[in-house]
Structure formats: C-alpha cells, structure tokens
Amino acid sequence: MKLWQKIFLSSLCLIIAAVNVISIVLLNNSHKLLIERERSHAINEYEYFAASFANTVVYERLKADKIMMTEEDIKKIAADIVSSRSQGQSAAAVYDSNKTLIESSALPELFGLDEFLSYISGIGTSVGDYYIKIFKCGDIHYMTVCSTLKIEDNLYLILTASDVSEIYALRSQQTDFVRKVSLISAAIISLILLVTIIFLLRPLSKLNTYTKAIAKGNYKIRIRKKGSHEFRELAENMNIMADSIQSHAARLEKIAEDRQTFIANLAHEMKTPLTSILGFADLLRIKRNVSDKERFEYANVIVEETKRLRSLSGKLMELIALGGTETDKKPVSLPSMIKETEAALTPILQKNSLSLACVSEDITIYADEELFKSLLYNIIENAIKASSIGQQITLRAAMTSGSAVIAISDQGIGMSQEDAKKVFEPFYMVDKSRSRKAGGAGLGLALCVKIAELHNAVLTIDSHLGQGTTVYIIVSGEECL
C-alpha cells in the first residue's frame, strides 16, 4: 500500500470514528435528559392520579356517610377513576396489597407483558417509593410509575402509565440525521484529505523520479527545494549526495581516461623505438651488401633506441614501484637534502657550464629522503635541460604561510601556457625530438608528481616562453616540523 493511501485511509477512519462517537454521546445525553424530564412529568401525573383517587374515596365515604368504605366500594371507585384516566395513550391500574388486580385500563399489550408482571411482583410495600420503568410494546414505549398508597387503612398498589414513544421516535430520527450528515461529511472530508495529502506528498514523487534519474546515471540533475521543511531538507541532502556522486564519478572517469591515455601513450612510446630497432635489424639481416658506414649507422640507431627503451622501462618500473611502496618518512633537514642533490648534479652542471645557487631556510620536513632527493634531482635536471651554456639555476626554500615552498627557477627556453598545463601528464613532451635526444621518456615529471603526492605536496609550474621556468614544490604544513 502506498504512503498516501495509508495516510488517507487512517486519517479518514479516525475522523469518521470521532464524529460518530461524539454524535452518539451527544444523542444519548439529550435522550437521557428527555427521559429525566418525562420521569418527573410522569411522577407528577401519578401524584395527581393518586391524590384524586384518595380524595374520591374520602369524598364518597363522607357522601355515603360511612365510617368505613367496603372493599366493593373501593373497587367501584377504582374502576371509575381508572376509566377516567384511560384516555389516549395514558393508562392506569390499581392493585390491592396482595398485588391482585382490582381494576386496570384496557391495555392488554402492556399489562399482559411477562416483563410487566415480574415488575409488579418486585415492587415493595413501603409508602412513598416510586418504581419507574419503561416498557416497549410494539412501536409504543410506556413509562410506568408505581407506588404503594394507604387509603382508609388499606394498602393499594397504584400504577400509571404514559406514552413516551415521542422521545424514542425523536432519537431514531436524530440518529438517522446524524448518519446522513456523517456520510456526507465523510465524503467531503475524504475529498479534502485526498487533495491535501496528494498536494503535501507531491514533492515525494518528484524526489522519487529524481533519485531514479540519478540511479540511471544522470548525475547532473538537481532538484528544486520546494514543499514543507522536511522535504526541503531532504531535497537539499539529496542534492549534496548528487554533488558528491557526480564528483566521484567524474574523478573515476578521469582516472579511467588517464589510464587509457597512459596506456595508449605507453604503447606509442614503446613501438616507436621498436620500429627503428626491428627495421634496422631486419635490414642488417636481409641485405646482402652492407657498407661499413651503413652498418655503423644502423647499429648506432639500434643501440640508441634500445637505450631509450631501457630508460622508458626503468622509469616505468619506478612509477609502478612508487604506486605500491610504503614511504619511509623521517624528519629530514631540507638544506642537507638540497646540498646532497647539488653534489650529485655537479658533473652535469659542469658539463653544461651552468651554475646552481641554493638558498634554504633551516626547515625540517617529514620525508622519505631518497624519494625527495630524486624529486629535487629530477626537477633540477629538467631545468638543466632547458638551460643553455652560462645560465644560472636558482633554488630557494622558505616557509611561506605555513607551508614549505621550494622554488626552482631557470633562465632557459621556457614554454607556452598550454604546454605548462600539460607538462605533468605522463609522456607529454614539449619538444619531442629534443627530449628524445636527451634520452627523455616523458615520465620524469609524472614521477615527480607521484613523489609529491606521497609527501602531501603540490607541484605548480610558472613558465614564459623564452624567459625561463619556475617549478614550485609546496609541502603542506602538516609535513613540516
């Protein structure tokens, strides 16, 4: 069962039940009140009847000038008075002290009832107690009042009955009315409820279609915040969820794409030297006459390209190893690492007649010493490759706004903004032929990025064509001591 159906049915049932209970209670109350009124009215009537009976007896005795009225006389008087009472739906009955009927109205449907007979036999004989009861004879309700009366030293049971059907008729009429009204109001209420519930729950179905869309992979969709507070909150949270799904999916896509590009580039980088190697080796194999010059040239290319493959596979192994190894991080002094790297680079610097100026604050960072030195080495080596004879390379290390920043600048050839953006991608080479001649595989900076990642550091590059390049290694403050 759907939520709106549940809410609708349960609230409808509750409302109808409440309306019915309240109206039944109200009806019963007013019915009781009416009966109460009818009761006092019946008692009054009884009093009147009893008094007129007693008075008639006294009057008849005085008129006949008797000392005592005989039983016969009293019977006669009772018959008179009962018949005078027996008009319309009113009735009366007189019994002697033994509850034997003396006289009664001709109302057999009442006086013949078993219930009525047992009621009469249950009446006590003390004077002044009223026994009131309502009897149902067919469609007519009678209210009877019965009490013991002392007349002329004898005890008589006097009973009056009056028709109270009107009250019951009124009650059934009102019940009918209430039933009709509650049916109509239930219809109206259910209509209003339905509209309200559907209106209130409409954001839910929208959220539903929205989640379905997300499940199908449409991560761009965002829901408008509308409806009640809870729905707005839910919508907002779902939008937050969609945001994070979208960014995750984009990241995964990017990773997959990068990997694809990496493999394509790797295949290309491997096949290029292989093509030269296979081609020249095949020529050496199949040609009958190979001059010394040709043989030297062919073999030279084969050696050169094999070296290129070796360097590529070496860098590749480093890159793979970096992905899986645990770094051995210890507090290391940055100036001492810089000094050692400088020493390792001295032969290449001298060969190219370049100078390297290093300025470093006394900073200690958590680092894997070998890896971090190779990061510095790689970047300075790149600066050397970009520089021409006589130029200077500078390295400055300083704490800047909580992070350790190492800036390596050269005055070399520099590169365009587009190249600077792509230069960290694996296999990207700004000048392919130049880079290949220098034995580059296009993986140096990709390695640097990996090492930087392992040290919670970021690499950025600032380069201008013809003016030189500055590479910044920004080590997060968390890694600094």
């Binding site: 096949k271 093509t275 081609g279 020529l283 199949i286 006459n289 040239e297 392919k432 032929s433």
Partner: protein
Amino acid sequence: MINILIIEDDQNIAKMIKATLSIVNYNGYCCYDGKSGMQEALKGSYDLILLDIMLPEMNGFEVMNQIKNCGTPVIFLTAVQDVADKVKGLRLGAEDYIVKPFEALELLARIDVVLRRSNKTQNIISYGSITVDIASHIITDNNVPVQLTPKEFDVIVYFLQHQDIAVSRERLLSNIWGYEFEGESRTVDIHVQQVRRKLNLKDKLITIPKLGYRLESQEKT
C-alpha cells in the same frame, strides 16, 4: 625511379624507412612534421606518401584531409592498433594502413601492392639473359620462352624485384600464396627448385641457411 615521401616525426624511423626503400632503389624523401609534409605532398611530385598519424603541428588525419585531392596514394603508419583509427584512415582515402613495428619486407610488399594498383611499377624486368614481362606474364631466356606455372612466375618476379635481399620462406608464402603458416614451407622449396632448374639460376638463386633464399644481382658478381 619511384619517389616516396615519408612524413614521420621520429627521425630514426624515417631514416630506417628511407634505408629500406633504397634496397629496392626507391627514392625516399623525409619530412618530420605534418605541416612541412603537407606542403611537400601538395607539390605532387611523389608516387606514394607514407604518413604517420601522431605528428607535431598537424596530425596525419589532418594532413590526409588536405592532400587527398592531389591523387597521390597514401599509406598510413601508426603505433596504434585501433580499428576505429584504421577505418577513419581508410575512409579518408588511404590505400593501406601499416602498424608499427613492421619488418622491412612487409613495408616493401605493402608499398608494392599500392604502386602496382596505380600502375607505377616496372613492367619489364631484365636479369642477364632473362627478360620478364609482368603485364603479359611472359618470361624468356635468350629470347626463348620458358614455361612456368603462375606461382613459379610470381616467385621469380618477387626475387627479381628484391635482388640481393634475403627472403624468408614465410615472406614468400605470405606474399605469393597469401597466407602465413610455417608448415607449408615445403611448397616454397619445391617452387624455388623448379624456378632454379627451369631458368638455370643454380649459382644465383642461393639458399641461405636458417633464413630462406636470395637472388644475387648480376652487376655485382
């Protein structure tokens, strides 16, 4: 003389292709980027263009788009073995598609097919007293016609076109019979023996152990 334009950014590969072409006496001319390659190709003085796909300045497809109207057949060279790329290249009007790395003779065979299709190959080949007319399938020795089966004819033509080159049995199988599997190399041996016997080439068409055969050229001996 056949002139072939090589558009390839890797200088060593370009050099290798040029050396390969020179063994069948084709002239190779190298361009190392897309733009200069395109300009050179538009001169229209080449019989065939070998075009790399990953090129600086302009990639191979862009170059192809620019030069397809000048009518020179093009063979793509690429390191990527991608069907989509292959289809793209062929749809642009390339004649063939060679995946790197390749053997020297494979390159020559592919070039040969394309050149033959555009009727740029030599039709008459002379070798000592032997003359072969490829178009009319006639071979004469001292002006006396020699009876050869079609396959034997193809074998001698292949050797005449690749003089002084060691040709493996597999290469012959794939070029002449059109399939590649080693079990059939006996077929090659039988055909070569027949050709040798019918044309008296015992000293010229020599067996090279572990490799195959070579037809030695006339002039150098």
